[in-house]
Symmetry: C2
Subunit: 247 residues, 2 copies
Amino acid sequence: MYGCVTRYGKYVCQILSEPGFKMSATGLVLARGGSKGIKNKNIVLLNSRPLLLRCLQVMHEAGCFSSIWVSTDDEKIAECAKNGGAKVHHRAKYTAVDEASSLCAVQEFLQHHTEISIVCVVQCTSPFLQARYLHKGMEKIQSGYDSVFSVTRRHLLRWSEGELTYPQNFNPRHRPQRQDWVGELYENGMFYFCKVNLVHQGLLQGGRCGYIEVPLCESLDIDSPFDIIVAQTWINYCQQEERQHSL
Amino acid sequence: MYGCVTRYGKYVCQILSEPGFKMSATGLVLARGGSKGIKNKNIVLLNSRPLLLRCLQVMHEAGCFSSIWVSTDDEKIAECAKNGGAKVHHRAKYTAVDEASSLCAVQEFLQHHTEISIVCVVQCTSPFLQARYLHKGMEKIQSGYDSVFSVTRRHLLRWSEGELTYPQNFNPRHRPQRQDWVGELYENGMFYFCKVNLVHQGLLQGGRCGYIEVPLCESLDIDSPFDIIVAQTWINYCQQEERQHSL
């Protein structure tokens, strides 16, 4: 489906030489070893490929990054990163604990890479990331946005918390039919493009802030063993549908 | 796992004779035949049992309904309803079209059953409905609520729609960690207890309105062929976990 490591270089160069991409962004995957819930979550296998490797392949394919880095404290992950054609940043321990935020880890990475002006943090536990979403994100950054991240549109009815509850986003006398309501936008964590001056101000989202919409069925985030099963089931289902359509 | 049809009668009587349940509620499943997306969605098989049958079994088990009805326009569904120990309401055609709301179908049902004072609409496409949730709902109604329905707590970050986007339920400078944020409540469609006077006013939710919380992993609603696969996968996973724990 994707090219091999030796082909990435060529592919990236081809795309970057298009007139469309004059700005330079660095792709960054934060992948520490000590994940809760699933052991070694970032390199767990999906369709026989580690999540991190899948993610790096899509990032290469997107062709919008001048360099791709994995920030980690784990040797196995570092090895996988190199196999996926990424550079390895050996992150400081204080950024690799449960309490540390992604922002903190990005700031620490940037301290060592002062040449970077745009960073894109990509979450490798979003297995249905597509190159075209990253591409669209980069286009938005280039058109003047300071930060761009991925969202999912959902049609969810919200209610207040308490002894009595009240509707928050609709009128129960006129319950919205799905086809008559655009729904609402929810951050899905898949990726965050951000100009570095914002990161220095303590933000991954701010300034002229835009979004890229990703369909719900591609927004799954792997957070539990069950999510892996769902993701694998979804892949098998899609492959089966593809086979049926090609008959 | 559940009793057979002949046992339901006994079970229901035992529970209803407890001092806890002096009020009488009617359980109602709206299950029309012409469902979009999945053909015959309401009687699609999950673990070899039709969704409707699973639902009716749980409703019987809950022991909080003086009678259980299925409102349908479809003969197969009517047959399944009878097999599940429910009475069949042959609904008017105008309530069984895509545009008709659940409220409309409940109102039509109640026109034929003027003796009912509390109705509980149960969605048979929520395959992980548990008797204890219905039981809790009935307890709330009995304690003085006019309507009670099921919700799911989610930790989702919302953003506004438009050329630029702004956070709606958090501060990006202090992104909430999951453990420090209670999240928000979302209707999950599993069930709606409601006093009939509210239904006459055009509402399934209103008056002293309360909720019952259902965990996210049990809130799945079957709406696409893939949902069936996910539900079956989840059931298999749980059964496997149970077997491992019992070894």
